[in-house]
Amino acid sequence: MALEVEIEKRFGSFHLRAAFTCEKEFLGILGASGCGKSMTLKCIAGIEQPDRGRIVLDGRVLYDSDRKIHQPPQKRRVGYLFQHYALFPGMTARQNILCGLQGEKDRRKRETRGDEMLDLLQIREIASLRPGQLSGGQAQRVALGRILVNEPDLLMLDEPFSALDTHLRLKLQTELKKLLAGYGRGVLLVTHDRDEAYRMCDRIGVMEQGQMDPVKKTKELFADPETRAAAVLTGCKNLTAAVRTGEREVFIPEWKIHLTTGKPVRDGLKAIGIRAHSFDPDEPTNRFPVRILQETEEPFEWISEFRYGEQSPDSPAVWWRYARELRPAAPPEALGVSPENVLLLY
């Protein structure tokens, strides 16, 4: 077992509670800003102290409230990549990387290790530049090199791509994933970006207002988010309250329709979610008359906002997204949803 976390921390009215384990894998914490995901990383790194709980990394107890153990960050061997990379000003890229090598006293060995890291990250040509002269992608590599040269037992990435231009993100995400795949330790990635989480992570835990849902496999989470927060964070646009009316049937008060569901409905159902891509004019099940209110054209997609025939006028319009080439000649009179695309939220 690589990392075990079970912590609680209160500050003001905010209550953070997180419990999860992370093996040698990419584990994502997905949450909106201010939900406590960075605070969780800080507790693991030892920058913040939880009120109670336990943090164990590879059998080493980093924090244990019962045994009064709170190791300083210097002793934890946890790598922390900050959102804006936190490179030391006034030091070159190489000096920044060598900072991570305090333990190695032999000067020649230090230089060699530094050079190896520069080569691994392919940043030898920027070795003598200072932080202010680096591009976002270069700064990220230097910060990563400074961490990896230390060979930490766990790597934590705090919104690592949010400071970068959108067109660079995809490229750097793939590169980082490849680089760290050979690294063979646990990687904890904090993000609010569902695409990034989906691309990078093996498993994901959703966090909302300090509370972390149980960690799920990435594909399972997107296929069946189960909670309202997870549905929103995985990009589900249409959420509405729902009532169980049968084993595989729910009633939607706002839309005044009954929907057939793919999974059996349990007690305690709060709402359902339907992704904007899930509507289909040719789908025979859950098919109801609709009135298109507005259409928006995007480079590769269309967005239609519509209401169901009997839908109450004060409830929000429903979003339907589809690829340009699927655009029908005339606006459809009715839309269907296949039962497995009705997400049950508890």
């Binding site: 300083p72 210097q74 900050f82 936190a86 030391f88 006034g90 202010g132």
Partner: protein
């Protein structure tokens, strides 16, 4: 030949008090910057007061503390340290008046410091002392340099508290600023003018040094490979 004692005296008072203020100001700024809000507000007022009070009022308070009949002054006198009417008293006066300048500029710099830098350094295994001097002080260098220069200039030009605490004794406690006043008062206009020019020259030199230091800082931006 004019007696240059006031210049020497002013410079040693300014230099010694500047060193004291540098460390005391940084220490206070670092501690206060991380205190809870209420305590911070109270301490901030106390530590900044000497800046807004008239220097003579500062001098009055210094006499209350260091006067030879007061407990602290008495104790120091027994230890062989006489501040009142002696040049080391000038250091006390200059420290009191210049401290807030160093403290406030350093505190401003510390407060705008990006704490992520210190945290990332900690997770890299770097010691807190190393982080303080190599990362925090490095990042806050502009503010700290500015504070030091301001404090030095203020210490050099101190008049009010100094004249109350150590008076004006030629060859013993006279500083540049007290000499200017004394010579002017005794109608030695050319003497006063000479010391005014000395003061101007020192101040200009200080400012020039700061500008040069700052330019040197900015220059090696894009280095040719």
């Amino acid at each position: 030949m004019t007696d240059l004692f006031p210049l020497w005296n002013s410079l040693r008072i300014a230099a010694i008090s500047c060193v004291i203020v540098f460390f005391a100001g940084i220490f206070a700024a670092y501690k206060v910057a991380r205190m809870p809000r209420v305590l911070k507000g109270i301490l901030d007022v106390i530590l900044t007061l000497p800046m807004v009070l008239p220097p003579t009022v500062c001098g009055y308070f210094l006499l209350l503390v260091f006067g030879t009949r007061r407990p602290v002054g008495k104790f120091l006198a027994e230890m062989g340290v006489k501040l009142v009417m002696n040049w080391p008293g000038g250091v006390a006066a200059a420290v009191a008046v210049a401290f807030p300048l160093m403290y406030r500029t350093a505190r401003g710099a510390f407060e705008s410091f990006d704490e992520d830098l210190a945290w990332s350094a900690q997770t890299l295994g770097l010691s807190n002392t190393w982080i303080f001097w190599r990362v925090r002080m490095r990042a806050c260098r502009q503010g700290i340099l500015a504070g030091t220069v301001l404090a030095f200039a203020r210490a050099l030009g101190e008049y009010g508290a100094t004249s109350m605490l150590i008076g004006y004794t030629p060859g013993r406690t006279a500083t540049v600023s007290t000499t200017v006043y004394q010579l002017w008062r005794t109608n030695d206009e050319s003497g006063a003018f000479f010391w005014v020019m000395v003061n101007l020259a020192i101040s200009a030199a200080v400012l020039l040094t700061v500008n040069l230091l700052e330019r040197r800082e900015r220059k090696p931006k894009w280095r040719l490979k």
